[in-house]
Subunit: 337 residues, 3 copies
């Protein structure tokens, strides 16, 4: 594991992540992936520590991934979901967090439908002078940093499994396709991928693009937003996919249809769904990612999703456990070993 | 524990269980029952392994039994229930299973309202060349093999606690009473009990019998269906109970009433409910089983259920943990020790 | 930990707790609080034992506290909540308890909306000659003994952190304010605090006082109910708070409003809500307790709740884990060490 010192206490956003921090996560995750390939997939690192999963928005996949990561570090876990919570009793979220703090939790993994909740909890913990760490497991349409990091780890590991590192993505072209507007996954990935020096191309219907981005677009295509981060925005799929090394599709919430942001799932699939024929625009060895769960035949064609030659979707899930072990380890032990 | 080699990778059905396999389960479970009688009821056998309980149909009893069995083998457990799942998000069941596979689960315990789901998952895992094992914890009206095995273990252990084995049931008469048509418990028990050489007598109202069976009936009673398996079907309780050694009652889903398959619970209890007076038809030391949860006063009279002289219901629950430890152990370690 | 012998097998009520028992809990909890201040907050005391949380009434806070206490004693835990239970299947509560008994649970922590359920389960377990212990985690409007004990521990620890003991409260004045009528927390606290020799003053609107108590009131104030227990009842806040050392506010269920027991939350806060100005009636170093979750601005003003100079609310939560570890330890090991 990296010998650099890890100073970050909470993981709330990738906006201010440094290259050194990205590399610390990537290298630590690589070590844990090795642990996961053993028959006994457990290390005693966080024994006696308590990781509380405070999920104010239900999620099986992410909660299970964090729970498993914590258990494999030998931490004890507590699960809180709003369905069985005292939220209905009128307590504030900060009160709930302070209750888990007072019980002696060491790390709080927080998911909430509202952007900023994990930040607010972290601020309050710091104000109180408490050592507890907060890990954002997805907040509204804001960020989902562990997803961004696992996507990064998945891509970098494909290029160099033994030493995944940020610089491997320099000059790669990566397309992010779909509902950019509502996607916290897209936000976190834009921060990490542009930080790596990769060219990031967003493709979405105008109704599913942030207004800020939409204004940058001229004739449906915009050039880099600033000198350092190479971000391009497209209203059509083809320019985003042309010669791309990696394509990330985003989950389409079916609620978008009822909000009149999309005419139909069929039309969306025709224009932005990833299929074999559209992949021909990309580099020959292009790989496709999706944060899951997938709407088969909408964001991606069903056969492509299951084709290990192209799909990294299962690898992402496996990476997720290794990356979350790395995050819990780095903030739990306070430093990389 | 048995020295024979265990080759079965998934446990989906008892239809093709061999006598050697039945005996391996019975003997392994007997060893674990001994462990459960100690103060520290835990063994390190599956340390570092992950058992995921994927319950697409809610069940407290069976889920807790599997969870406890896994914890007593020192495995880590993950619970998934459809109520808090991403099923509502449109993911397929195979996708969910593959997600848990990719997280690194070693054994998936699957319950689903539809018959065949555990088989479909197991087939897919094998097709992918994955080592993960699938254990059917009840699928629709198909099978519930761990229930069948725990019932078998309960009965055999009563005859010989130290060496429970299949041959002990040869020539015993066992009645299975109630809603045979909808019962996965009945299906699994019919396979195991007829395999033992016992005479199995089913008793149910015609509306709660499978059509296939109903056709075999002449004047409300049928003889053995084939030369080897001794299965008899009755429209009335008395011939099934006459000189029976064991009586298994099945849970009656109250939904059957609204489906017009039964006139009333009271009439059902009068005709097929097990009471002290009806037990006089059986052998004097007859024992009664029920998979639980019991509708008191419907399938069985309330006082009989609580009478340890007749009722094996609590013993079944205890057997359940030992048998599930045995199953997890046998498929988890790949061989009996 | 105390060297006295612990003989109580179930913890159902504080009505018959002896001073020796109170002191055993206080001293054992003090030992465990020391464990909780270590980095590795775990002891192997209950390894291999199973603690089942049977919560027929949902509660995140209390369930998490018991779960964490059990895990820190290295016990395995099983969670049962009625939402995902077979309660809908028509099983009785005793049947559910017996199922968990038969699975091999060593301690059952039971919460239920009806008073007396934990007692009924304990009686049945004793009748069956079973060694399993029952711990009442709140039953209807009856009792919540672990809350009463953690409040006692919180107060006594403030006076003498190293040797919290019952006699420290002799001649202290403690006010309990709010919905006494519906509060199981008040009931348990009245038993423990009056047992300590403290003067206990209840203050509530007449509609939220038990009828029995209301009859003792003359002109809105009553004197001690019997020679030994010093209990006083008031219809107004001021006489209860005058020179008080501790003020316990109770959670106000908002349902009380719809039941026409209260005119409005605002009026309730004005008359019985704890604020800085009302605290001036008390001793200068008065402390405020609340069992949580708090309706901010109703039972207590929001700024007071967050002021560590006055509020013990977070300390209560921390005490809760230590006290519940003590209870599980005392009934789990059968004796104090």
């Amino acid at each position: 594991m990296p010998t650099s010192t890890w100073n970050r206490h909470h993981i709330l956003s990738l906006a201010d992540f440094t290259p050194v921090e990205y590399d610390a996560v990537l290298q630590t995750a690589a070590s844990f992936r090795e642990v996961l390939s053993r028959r006994t997939k457990k290390v005693p690192t966080l024994q006696g520590q308590v990781v509380a999963n405070l999920f104010f928005e239900p999620s099986t996949r992410t909660r299970s991934s964090f729970e498993l990561a914590a258990k494999r570090l030998s931490a004890d876990t507590l699960n809180f979901t709003s369905a069985t919570s005292s939220m209905t009793k009128g307590e504030t979220i900060l009160d709930t967090a302070k209750t888990y703090l007072a019980m002696g939790c060491d790390i709080m993994v927080i998911r909430h439908t509202s952007a900023g909740v994990p930040n607010a909890v972290a601020l309050e913990m710091d104000r109180l002078g408490e050592r507890v760490s907060v890990l954002n497991a997805g907040d509204g349409q804001h960020e989902h940093p562990s997803q961004g990091l696992l996507d990064l780890f998945t891509i970098c590991s494909l290029i160099d499994p033994l030493q995944p590192r940020l610089e491997l993505l320099k000059d790669k072209k990566i397309a992010i396709v779909g509902d950019i507007l509502h996607s916290r996954v897209a936000r976190s990935n834009i921060w990490s991928l542009t930080a790596s020096g990769a060219e990031v191309h967003l493709a979405a219907p105008p109704t599913l693009l942030p207004k800020l981005f939409a204004e940058y677009i001229n004739d449906g295509e915009a050039s880099g937003l600033d000198g350092r981060r190479k971000l391009f925005i497209h209203w059509h799929l083809e320019p985003a996919l042309r010669d791309a090394d990696f394509v990330m599709t985003l989950r389409l919430q079916k609620e978008r249809m009822t909000a009149h942001l999309l005419p139909s799932l069929r039309e969306y699939h025709q224009m932005f769904g990833i299929t074999r024929s559209k992949l021909k625009w990309c580099k020959p060895n292009v790989k496709v990612l999706h944060p899951g769960p997938v709407n088969r035949g909408v964001e991606i064609s069903s056969d492509l999703m299951d084709d290990p030659e192209f799909s990294l979707i299962q690898t992402q899930v496996t990476s997720g456990v290794a990356v979350r072990m790395a995050l819990l380890y780095l903030i739990g032990s306070g430093k990389a070993v």
